[in-house]
């Protein structure tokens, strides 16, 4: 299909471009980028005046639930949700059943991604760092890399043993693969449902103190200092001192990166006062001070990536007592809206920086091919309306699950379409 993207504002971090240009795409390849380009053939014209043409966005922290928990989400519904949210690629976490700790499972997930939703969303598995995510034996890391794994993590289960963590860092370093840690010192969080602080004291809910995250990150950074060739990525940072630790480690030249979720830069633990289980996630919503630290970390570049930790659960699973409910919320379809509303509109970061954190940076960390919007390159693009006012309605989610604390929230900005592998999906 031939596509003519007309009058869009092209924001392309790798070429440094931020200007109004037309883009011609022929058979999935960008044929021309320029001002007032003439369409010499039959094109599907998409008028993008006031809209943004961005390199395809990627969410590097998604739980697709397949295999094993297809009642929550499948690779197909997850990809549909990603496409609706403006992502042309997602990374799926290995806490499936069986876990992605074996090349057959990694291949299954990767290949299945190509067969659903016309293959418009690329699915890149993040494989388990240890067998069964048990934290005791290394998973077949080399084989998993071969099968398409782009990173390693026991996400959900922190790697508790310093010895195993050291070996995972060493082994993964041979393949230049990032080790992604769900940083949590489990001895400090047993029975916890929410952030430990004033609100947990008021509600009588057991707390998950920020020190649980900070301690684990501090330990891992000391390991990283010792295993210099490794690459370490902290998943979903939530606490002020975690950001400070990472900031200092980066200034010392360590190979560390991190991500934050939209909910951690938007909501505080005050949201838990309703006992709405859609406010229960791990790491938990923290305080206003922490929210500000996340925004500051994004602004100064300490936080490299925005990732959603998309964690679908059914209504029945969530409509239970707060302490019994599973952790997590869906995130793919609210990520851009929350990021623009909370970060760009409030001037913490520019649209240019936002696109870096949703595309350029995560792709670089995962060693995925760079996306440059230039003649002769494959078109892998996200189209964004940065000023659209809309209201989150869980009933319109493409995800199989609807567990979001943002239902009814007014947001500004959303994706209006994606282009990848010669396919175009317009959602605006």
């Amino acid at each position: 299909m031939n596509i003519y993207l007309k009058n869009g504002t092209l924001i392309d971090p790798l070429s440094g471009r931020d200007e109004t240009l037309d883009v011609l795409i022929v058979d999935g390849v960008i044929e021309k980028v320029g001002k007032s380009v003439a369409a010499d053939r039959l094109f599907t014209v998409v008028d993008l005046k006031g809209k943004i043409v961005s390199p395809g966005l990627i969410d590097m922290h998604v739980h697709l639930r397949e295999p094993g928990f297809e009642h929550k989400e499948t690779i197909e519904t997850g990809c549909r949700s990603a496409a609706a949210g403006g992502f042309t690629a997602i990374c799926c976490m290995p806490n499936t059943s069986p876990a992605i700790d074996d090349e057959s499972v990694a291949r299954y997930v990767h290949e299945k991604g190509k067969s659903v939703c016309d293959g418009i969303v690329d699915v890149h598995p993040i494989a388990a760092a240890t067998k069964g995510r048990k934290g005791t034996e290394l998973s077949p890391i080399a084989e998993l890399v071969q099968a398409g794994a782009v990173g390693f993590s026991d996400d959900g289960s922190p790697i508790a043993s310093a010895e195993i963590m050291r070996r995972v860092l060493e082994y993964c370093s041979m393949y230049d693969a990032p080790v992604i840690q769900h940083a949590e010192e489990a001895a400090l969080t047993e029975g916890g449902s929410m952030n430990e602080g004033f609100v947990s004291t008021r509600l009588g809910l057991r707390g998950i103190p920020p020190i649980a995250e900070e301690l684990m990150v501090a330990r891992d950074l000391i390991l990283l200092q010792y295993v210099r060739s490794a690459r370490y990525h902290v998943a979903h940072v939530s606490a002020t001192r975690t950001v400070e630790l990472i900031r200092r480690a980066k200034s010392e030249g360590l190979n560390v990166s991190c991500e934050v979720t939209p909910h951690h830069f938007t909501l505080t633990d005050a949201a838990v006062e309703s006992f709405d289980t859609n406010t229960k996630m791990n790491p938990p919503l923290r305080t206003q001070e922490d929210v500000m630290a996340m925004k500051e970390g994004l602004r100064d570049g300490t936080i490299d990536v925005i990732a959603t930790d998309h964690a679908p659960h059914t209504i029945d699973e969530k409509e239970v007592e707060y302490t019994v409910a599973p952790f997590g919320i869906v995130g793919l379809e609210t990520a851009i809206g929350l990021s623009i509303t909370e970060l760009v509109r409030q001037k913490y970061i520019t649209m240019f920086q936002l696109i870096e954190k949703l595309s350029t940076n995560p792709r670089r960390l995962l060693r995925l091919p760079e996306i440059v919007i230039a003649e002769g390159t494959p078109a892998n693009l996200t189209l964004i309306d940065p000023t659209m006012d809309w209201t989150v309605d869980i009933r319109r989610f493409q995800s199989k699950s609807k567990n979001s604390p943002f239902h009814g929230r007014a947001l500004v900005g959303r994706s209006i379409g994606i282009i990848n592998h010669g396919k175009i999906l317009l959602t605006g």
Partner: protein, 324 residues
């Protein structure tokens, strides 16, 4: 005063327009207005009077059905609620299930909806999970009364504590009350802090640092770690039960050490400049958090609390029962 005068034989509400609480449920004392608390305490006073009469039954909840939904074992709270319900002439059903609803295979929501389908007007719930009463109030139409939700709140206990203190001192304004013991795991402590603060009392807590929750000062409670320091500064001590399982999870060294350093003994309270009132939500561990001689002394209002508890629950049931 004199809002109502329940007389067992010729019962009627004397005031024009029956008193109304702000909400349809009693989920906790966090955020409850002073007016509502006063209304409950005043109403309880009328019912307390009824309890001293030969015929203790009054008719206001005739025709109403109340279920006591107890997911956690409880003797005194359940009996107290049941007595209160029966004395208001309600029809009463008891449901007791131990353990979480999940381990039974049925969710709390399904259990509640099933019971409600049997046409229940009010639900009294005791559950181990904080927020379970809030949750219930969202999924059923009946009035919900929280009889203890995990470590969150136990509003009727705090109301009866406040009632007992108000009877003794005439007012709660400026009254100095210290809650002693395991504050972290206590719903009684939380409800008392919320209620007493709203009523203008001065609240402090005293216990081992490991059993005092994070940021408790922000709730308006001053923290003490030496019982000797607090005794000269208070009018009343509300002594909480200390549970052995907290020792097993590493929160304090031994019951002996606890008693030696935090136990409320005659020796200690006799050093106070004026007599101290001792409350305890029960059941008491004699010679652990409280010595036997204190529990049985003239300082103790523990048995009055139990009687007042029935009157408080009658008041809450009556006031909520008239919101439908």
């Amino acid at each position: 005063m004199g809002r109502m005068l329940p007389i067992s034989s010729t019962w009627r509400v004397r005031d024009m327009g029956s008193p109304k609480l702000q909400g349809r449920h009693l989920l906790g004392l966090d955020g409850i207005s002073k007016e509502d608390i006063v209304m409950i305490l005043d109403t309880a006073k009328s019912f307390r009077e009824v309890l001293d009469r030969p015929i203790k039954k009054v008719p206001p909840l005739q025709g109403k059905t109340i279920v006591n939904l107890f997911f956690e074992s409880s003797t005194r709270t359940r009996i107290s609620f049941e007595l209160a319900e029966r004395r208001l002439s309600a029809d009463v059903v008891n449901f007791a299930a131990s353990g979480s609803s999940v381990s039974k295979g049925e969710t709390l929501k399904d259990t509640a909806r099933n019971i409600e389908a049997m046409k229940i007007d009010m639900v009294v719930i005791r559950h181990s999970s904080p927020g379970s009463a809030h949750f219930l109030s969202r999924v059923v139409d009946a009035n919900v009364i929280n009889a203890g939700d995990g470590e969150h709140e136990h509003p009727t206990q705090a109301l009866l504590d406040m009632y007992t203190l108000r009877e003794k001192y005439g007012t709660l304004e400026g009254l100095r009350v210290c809650i002693v013991g395991d504050i972290t795991h206590s719903r009684v402590a939380r409800s008392n802090i919320f209620g007493l603060r709203t009523m203008g009392a001065e609240v402090s807590v005293c216990g081992p640092a490991t059993l005092i929750p994070h940021d408790i000062e922000a709730l308006g409670a001053k923290v003490y770690h030496r019982i000797e320091d607090i005794i000269p500064r208070v009018d009343a001590l509300n002594v909480l039960r200390i549970q052995l399982e907290r020792q097993q999870s590493g929160l304090f060294p031994s019951l002996r050490e606890y008693h030696r350093y935090f136990g409320v003994t005659i020796d200690r309270i006799s050093k106070a400049p004026k007599p101290i009132t001792i409350l305890h939500p029960g059941p008491i561990n004699r010679d652990v958090e409280i010595s036997a001689d204190v529990a049985d002394s003239e300082h103790s209002v523990i048995l009055e609390q139990v009687t007042n508890g029935v009157a408080i629950r009658m008041a809450v049931l009556y006031l909520l029962g008239s919101t439908n």
